[in-house]
């Protein structure tokens, strides 16, 4: 089963829609609460990054027999130094974004913590594609 979501880069009040929607899909399917929690937290972090850093994009979430795989794609600026971006506390978020409570530099580390695998394809000027995988 595949679900697709558009992630608007403008409307902050819609931030988290994809994660919330997919969360209820997983719940309805009777997936365990622990897995649902891990998927939705990781998805939310990726969704917020797609909005605030990537300027919006798309999300494709797939439930396979042995894993849940979610891909976020944006055509934003890309990440120049991925190793640095993965470090806890590293953030390039603007002052305006920080006032909303984002920019702790914990998003990517959280995604890593809550998933079994995390793949990032990114380069400056090329945009960012992030896939998170949680085994069932």
């Amino acid at each position: 089963m595949i679900k697709k979501y558009d992630i608007s880069g403008e409307d902050f009040s819609l931030a988290g829609e994809a994660s919330s929607n997919f969360k209820s899909v997983l719940k309805r399917l009777g997936i365990s609460t622990e897995i649902v929690r891990r998927v939705s937290i990781a998805m939310y972090e990726a969704e917020i990054n797609t909005i605030i850093h990537g300027g919006g994009g798309e999300c494709e979430a797939e439930i396979k027999s042995n894993a849940i795989s979610v891909t976020f794609r944006d055509n934003g600026p890309g990440i120049a130094n991925l190793e640095l971006a993965m470090q806890e506390g590293y953030s390039t978020a603007s002052e305006k974004i920080r006032e909303l409570g984002f920019g702790a530099g914990m998003g990517l580390p959280n995604i890593k913590k809550y998933t079994d695998d995390m793949l990032i394809d990114t380069a400056p000027g090329k945009g960012t594609t992030l896939t998170l995988i949680i085994n069932l």
Binding site: S20, S40, N110
Partner: protein, 109 residues
Amino acid sequence: MKVSELIKTLNLTVATEPNFEDRDVTGCYIGDLLSWVMGKAQSGDAWITIMNNINIVAVASLTDSACIILCEGVSADEAVINKANSEGIIILKSGETAYSLACQLSGEI
């Protein structure tokens, strides 16, 4: 303790729908940086914060927090309250500091 008992113990005001589902509060987490809270708050926690924008609803929902406690007299605007009501998130309010609230909870949960 239940959310209703938490409200009495800490003398909180209910900002969202008063007929909420009275669930168990099994812990407490204090923080304002959303992705920090995302990574650390546990299911069933009462989340104490001064952050009051719309994104707190998603954070509370995704971490499965028992409720949000806005401290230090912070309040949430109507859009936040409406969103919380539609997602079944309880928002409570207090004029006290996070420290003071946590001290009163000590040994109670």
